[in-house]
Subunit: 341 residues, 2 copies
DNA sequence: ATTGGCACTCGGATCACCGGAGTGCCAAGC
DNA sequence: GCTTGGCACTCCGGTGATCCGAGTGCCAAT
């Protein structure tokens, strides 16, 4: 069946090109891979593949190079999952296990991911929207000023200063504290916000009417602070130095993107749950200038639904199978760690 | 006086080389700058400058290029302070004035500095060691667990969970809170740590003996957490794309350094107080691999003694006067902003 | 459908060549 | 004693010309 062999040829081309970074010709192909046909046959297949847009030649009479479409087919149908070596696996787990807090987990993830893939790694901090409120604390700093401390299930702590319109008694504070916690603790952020707003709309006692407003507003603001959703860690930018050719055209926009966290987030895309790894190849992404870079990403988080996204960014010419398993593995480990505490 | 003219020649060489990125020859030199002598004279001066090691020729019969030593002399003696344009000044102040909190101030500083200098900007977060304790708050979360919140004069807030060996009464907590604040509030970090340790060593009441230890330890640990001293923001890495030539040799190690915050800190060097800008040229720095990059940095902070360091990193071939004024200006603005609140 | 053969293409390396910018030095001039 | 014009020399960098080889497409044979 020649259709089958054509795909084998495409796979071989992709693998060789990724390994050598040079256009691959028919002869070298039959030598390096054990497909039992002659170069001429392969040439016919290549011509067909080129007609269908899976490969292209940079110049007449040069070898073939996969197109975005070719990579896409490769990723979708030709990838054989290659497991990580035991050593790699061990390195990941021991390195990540040493983390002391959320920041550290993210930091270490970025590092290990970039080293594993030799690519630029990007890890989004766990999103607030999916996490739950563990506890709310209200602390009187002065008669008319208090500190609202918000502790989330992800381990993140946010605090806000609140100025009050009237002096606050200890009893009222204690009352407010219990009421706030009873409606918010254990709730998903979004649910907590609405519950708090309801509380503010109908103050249970006249005593509280003067305080509940500003306190709830401060908490709601802290919970939905969008700047937090945008927090991102980047690592392994030095790997960009391996781009070698096509410098100003490829690396510069990428470096710019890495500093624009909003852009980066859009690049990573929506978090995908359940161990699914998303691959965006070249021009499939949202940014024209990054048409020669691919993104391999996946969601991660305690349960099955993703809390945030993590992945790597690299040239379209990258080792997709290896990168995908690395991304998947790191996501799994991070999820497990976040689950523990 | 020929000595004087020699220096003028050196200055002209540096300026031209920085502007054109090409070795500068005697003829072009007399044309572009109005030194009223002939090329031959300049050639003699150049020969002398070369003997003294201030300039060098990349190849025989090419123009001259400044050496590190030449840049050093230029920076030390030949720099004329060039003030920023009114527009630039306005841009800096309006951009920085929009900052909402400490993080934002640092973030914006990095951005404005990198845009101003078209170089990689580095800003160290205000060091804890110089800041003072504004307030300590202790919050009971459970009978045997409390949250210690540390508020610093820089606006930074740190919190630690503390597990206690025995149940804590409200009265003891209030007592502990006042005692801790009375010895720590307003003190420099280092003084606060020692004062707290003394408190822990000799508990004033038997009641407190069981709690004061862990609480003080948590606070002291938060105060002297060295990871905080290492926090750094980097921006403008995309400017590295302008390096063009000498890529793997120069950009790669720099990208690596930018991720190693410890390295970066060492690179920035000690904070210098009082508006003094430090310039480290090429091999003067502590890292061999960064021998073709220079660092322009200065301390910044509310008063005259520096709280932290900020600066830019770029190729030895950079516009030193412009960069120095930009760094100085940003440091001044940031200092002022930190002073306000 | 596959394969060997063959003519053809074209990119990239090599080499010779040349021009021009720049230098060093020397002798003449102020 | 500087400065300057002149001059021979060097050598980098660009421009062609040439050549080699990898690779292709096509065709006829199997």
């Amino acid at each position: 069946m020649q259709e089958e062999r054509r795909l084998a040829v495409l796979r071989a081309i992709v693998e060789d090109y990724v390994a050598t970074e040079e256009p691959v010709g028919s002869k070298a192909l039959v030598e390096r891979h054990g497909l039992g046909v002659s170069p001429a046959t392969v040439r016919n297949d290549m011509a067909a593949l080129e007609d269908e847009g899976y490969i292209a030649q940079p110049h007449t009479s040069a070898g073939r190079v996969p197109t975005d479409k070719g990579y896409r087919l490769f990723v979708d149908r030709l990838t054989t999952v290659k497991p990580m070596s035991a050593a790699e696996r061990r390195a990941v787990s021991t390195f990540l296990d040493g983390a002391v807090d959320l920041d550290d987990v993210v930091q270490r993830s970025v590092r290990v991911l970039s080293q594993l893939t030799r690519q630029v790694a990007v890890v989004q901090y766990p999103t607030l929207s999916r996490s739950t409120v563990r506890h709310v604390e209200l602390v009187a700093l002065a008669p008319r000023r208090l500190l609202a401390v918000l502790i989330l299930s992800t381990g993140r702590v946010e605090q806000r200063l609140v100025e009050l319109g009237a002096d606050l008694s200890d009893e009222a504070l204690a009352d407010l504290r219990t009421r706030v916690n009873s409606v918010a603790s254990g709730e998903i952020i979004s649910a907590a916000v609405t519950a708090l707003r309801e509380l503010a709309a109908e103050p249970p006692t006249a005593d509280l009417a003067a305080y509940v407003g500003p306190v709830v507003e401060a908490l709601a603001e802290a919970m939905s602070d969008h700047r937090l959703d945008e927090r991102i860690a980047v690592g392994g930018a030095a790997n960009l130095a391996r781009y070698g050719d096509s410098f100003d055209s490829a690396v510069r926009p990428l470096l710019e993107a890495l500093e624009e966290h909003v852009v980066l987030l859009k690049l990573l895309g929506e978090a995908t749950a359940g161990g699914m790894v998303t691959v965006r190849i070249g021009a499939e992404g949202p940014y024209e200038q990054l048409s020669s870079t691919s993104v391999v990403a996946t969601g991660y988080g305690p349960t099955d639904d993703a809390l945030a996204t993590l992945g790597v960014v690299g040239p379209t010419r990258m080792d997709y199978p290896g990168t995908m398993t690395a991304v998947r593995a790191v996501a799994r480990y991070v999820s497990r760690i976040l689950d523990e505490d």
